[in-house]
Symmetry: C2
């Protein structure tokens, strides 16, 4: 089957690549953990991706275009719509495009994103309300305010990156090696934050709870997840008492954020992050 393009959602921790047919359907896909923090030879990785694309053009989005990635694609300044982003795609070599990120250049609260703009425009193309608050949970969660199909502002919370760093090397690493599947302990962690908890104190408190017999070790990683996601939604919702909320991400993460939002008395809709990314790629290709 003809391949129209290969699109890669190349993030900080992971990447997902899709062979896309001219009608927009996905012919093949793969996902791995070769996010930009885990890659040294970017040129080699891009060349391998081109071989996988078998001559079709590559469209790269996410951290791959950051100063921690392959080649830097300068940010588009918010407010920004899809036409602004599509017009700023850089083409470092024939057949390769890198989607720029979006930046808020307010000195009081500057913010940057890469990759979520594709998902956001995809969510809008999939029918999400064009005005509202979009939460993209992940390594660096984004809370994006959209008005009239444009990104007007956003904030970022380093929830997943912090969790990965704590898991890799900290006094909590042994507890974080256990699965986080205890919704009650998760909810307690969220509630602790909503009640005004200090997150860097409560994180160590998880170990204290386990050592004093107040928390089973098997519940610890769920409580930690609840504390970090609780801190995430507090930051994301600050100053947004009324916006409609749409979660854009993996079903597992969206479920956890929806649970946390419900604890804060907020309802939300969810859109699968991969579907949003693919819809965003199609919308950007149409706008190019």
């Amino acid at each position: 089957m003809t391949v129209a393009c290969v699109a890669v959602d190349w993030g900080t921790s992971n990447r997902r690549a899709f062979r896309i047919a001219p009608d927009g359907t996905v012919i093949a896909r793969f996902a791995d953990d070769r996010g930009v923090l885990n890659v040294d030879d970017f040129a080699g990785e891009v060349a391998a991706m081109q071989r996988w694309a078998a001559g079709a053009p590559l469209l790269l989005a996410g951290s791959i275009g950051s100063n921690r990635g392959w080649i830097e694609a300068p940010y588009v300044t918010a407010p920004a719509g899809i036409a602004d982003v599509a017009a700023a795609i850089i083409r470092p070599q024939p057949g390769v495009g890198i989607v720029p990120g979006v930046a808020v250049r307010n000195p009081a609260c500057p913010a940057v994103m890469r990759g979520e703009e594709v998902q956001l425009f995809g969510a809008l193309a999939l029918g999400a309300a064009s005005d509202g608050l979009f939460c993209h949970p992940g390594t660096h969660s984004k809370w994006i305010t959209a008005r009239n199909d444009r990104i007007t502002g956003f904030t970022s919370v380093m929830t997943g990156d912090l969790l990965a760093a704590l898991t890799a090397r900290s006094i909590l690493s042994d507890l974080l090696a256990l699965p986080a599947d205890d919704d009650m302990a998760f909810g307690d962690g969220v509630d602790t934050m909503l009640a005004g908890g200090d997150v860097t104190a409560e994180l160590f408190g998880v170990r204290a709870r386990v050592l004093t017999g107040h928390l089973p070790p098997a519940a610890a990683s769920s409580r930690i997840s609840g504390l970090l996601i609780g801190a995430d939604i507090i930051a994301g919702l600050r100053g947004k008492p009324d916006d409609r909320i749409t979660l854009v991400g993996s079903p597992g993460l969206c479920r956890r954020f929806a649970l946390a939002l419900a604890r804060a008395g907020r309802s939300c809709a969810s859109i699968d992050g991969e579907a949003a990314f693919l819809a965003g790629v199609r919308a950007i290709l149409r706008a190019t």
Copy 2:
């Protein structure tokens, strides 16, 4: 010269060992980064320490007695004075004593410490007010409330551990590789937290500030330090509007915490952590 004992302050990240003469003076010392998170063969490390002690008894304090260390020395429950701690020293083999930690067994806010109790009793022996709030900044900062020379309660904040984890592996690691020597950026970070900042959002915001040109890369690690220490003092001071504050730690860390406390309108005294540890060892040996 006769060696009365070798005392080891064996923490999570680092350890410091002292050969102590019968009159309490230090004959020799060494320090390295073989804290419990960096050691696998504890028995071998303890045997090496015994060789360095050349027959004198070993007194080990800190994380070495935790479930992440060599042999677990059960916590003494707060409120606890020096006699309670001295009486609970365990002796797993001839010539080796492990100082127990102290635990708060309140289900609402359980807390555990190991090592800081020795410094605290040392600070009291060195003349610190017997009632007050003692801040031990570090890997897991402790804010200890003392009343009548006893530890009545405390809270812990995982400031240094979090910084080490972010430095080792996160999107901030390149910025954290630069020295943190910019007091103005540090103070701005503290002020951001004192003004109600969300620490996990502000941490990512440091990268956004650098990428949008609002913060020089060389100032980033100072701002991160200010955010984390700001979050630390907010947690430590919560509910303590009036206590006298004594910092117990390395001169460099005490200086930063004193700067942060001043931003919060609080004054403090400082006691060198090593001097406090040595005074605590002498006080415990007298109480044994």
